[in-house]
């Protein structure tokens, strides 16, 4: 956001198509892993459940890290690159 005394100018950058594809893939993977973890626990397959929980957690952390990193990547004197 810039301020030239009389007006605010907001620059909104579109996220590229691959970002949304990647986000959907990430979300799908999370859903499948969590469902697998819950189902495996119900079926007494505890090792499969544990691995699925760990994978889901790692993926969640990776997703959060990627999101935060991207959000903080703009420089103070430049237009904000994130919405």
């Amino acid at each position: 956001m810039t301020n030239d005394a009389d007006t605010f100018t907001i620059t909104m950058r579109k996220r590229p198509w691959w970002f949304w594809a990647f986000a959907e893939l990430w979300l799908l993977s999370e859903v499948v892993l969590v469902q697998t973890a819950l189902a495996s626990a119900r079926e007494s397959e505890y090792r499969a459940a544990t691995i699925s929980w760990i994978a889901a957690a790692v993926l969640a952390v990776a997703g959060a890290f990627g999101w935060l990193r991207r959000k903080d990547s703009h420089k103070p004197n430049e237009p904000n690159k994130s919405v």
């Binding site: 495996s40 007494s44 397959e45 090792r47």
Partner: protein
Amino acid sequence: MEGTRKQTGRRAFLKAGGIVAATGALGSMGAFVTGTGEDASRSGNERKRARWIKAVSRPTLGETNADYKRFSGFDMFALYPSLKTQRDGAGSFEAEQASKDKRLVAWTNEKKPGFSLPDQQLSEGAWTVMRSARPGAGLLSWTRPPEDVPTEPIAPRYTAAPEEMANTVKAAARLYGARLVGIAPMNEAYVNLKVPHRERPHKERPPKDAQQKDAHSTVHPHEGEDQKSADSLAHHHADNDQKCERGKEQKTDQPPQDKEIVFADVDVPEVTDAKFMIPRKMKWVVAIAIPMDIELLARTPTPLGDAASALGYSHSAFVVSSLAVFIRGLGYEAIPCVNDTAQSIPFALDAGLGELSRLNKLVTPDFGPAVRLCKVFTDMPMACDKPVDFGLVEFCKTCKKCAEACPSRALSFDDEPSFKTKGPWNNPGHKTWYEDSYKCYQYWQKSGSACGVCLASCPYTKGDQAWIHNAVKATASIAPAADGVFRIMDNAFGYGKQHDPEQWWTKDSPSSRRG
């Protein structure tokens, strides 16, 4: 702002479009993985099956050659005493049985996990229904009870289009407890030559599992063992129950004889002292699969794990006997069979219940090899189903997990199936991975159980709650190149390993299961 609003609107539109597209893609994938399709409707049951289970004109494995004949009926249960004696000398079989009995008593007293008194009696209880079923008698009677034979037809027999007749029978079978049902044409080559009378010199512990378990462990399914063997064992135990009182055999004046099974131009099935007669007009076979309890199966090789087979057999006896009464009530004849009388596996293959596997047993896409098979012969005209292909044979060529897991090394490690048999327990003349039933049955004696590790270790033996499993099966059906990765993943996730037997009573029994 106007431009910004337009841009925002377009982006929102694109986002919404993306979400719709993604949802559509997921839905399509879901339909492929779990949904229905034309092929499935032709190949299976009234309940349509997933699209990745394709109907084909002939079974993917099990092709026969000129050597294929009706199986003698003498499977490993019948052959083992003489084979053992032949290989290890006179008295070796009796000594082995005595040693096994002694070992079992010791394990019971020391409460070895899976061998405690409750563990063993769980299986005993599960056998109850099956024990009252013998080929041609009791629950498995081939004819109506005399008091139920009407002197005059009460009503015209039920008639409809063949497809509707098939669906009617399948609906009834499902109500009685069948999970997979298919209709196959009668093939006389699959029917055994005899119903052997089995004499056991030793008191045996109650039958342990047997289904495909025993099938694989005994003779070969396609040939004549699979469920047959299991069945034989069950019938044998039924015999024992009737003849023995706490292990002491009572002598009878006339020793039972083996009985021939013949096809004849008669109106109704007949069972005489010398033979079983199947009317030639019985041209249809209802092939049925009963799933085993995989929580129990995961406890093999123990008596606790054997309860999974026992329960499967008892359910089978109930389903086929109920279905036979239903069909007779519609005005037709019906012969209910569990493992007896004929090979269940080839009929199940023809009816599209599954594919023949490295185990030399049927593997279903839904429950893997963890099923018990049974069948009903009838003269009720029905539309037949088609065999199925879901990529199993290619998967078996790569996987070999069952062969590696088998404690007795009874299963084949060959890359390709062949016509080469392993012993007299195999029925020659069909292409498969033949198993060494002698080694298998010998391990039964050593372990004090009917094993079943091969059934439990198969990657297709899975619960049905995790979506990912169906996705993997669907992928394997169209991309054999991924089979090796799936096998590695199956191991990495810990599938197929024995579960703690003691934990069944506290955590995994039906009364304590979650969900």
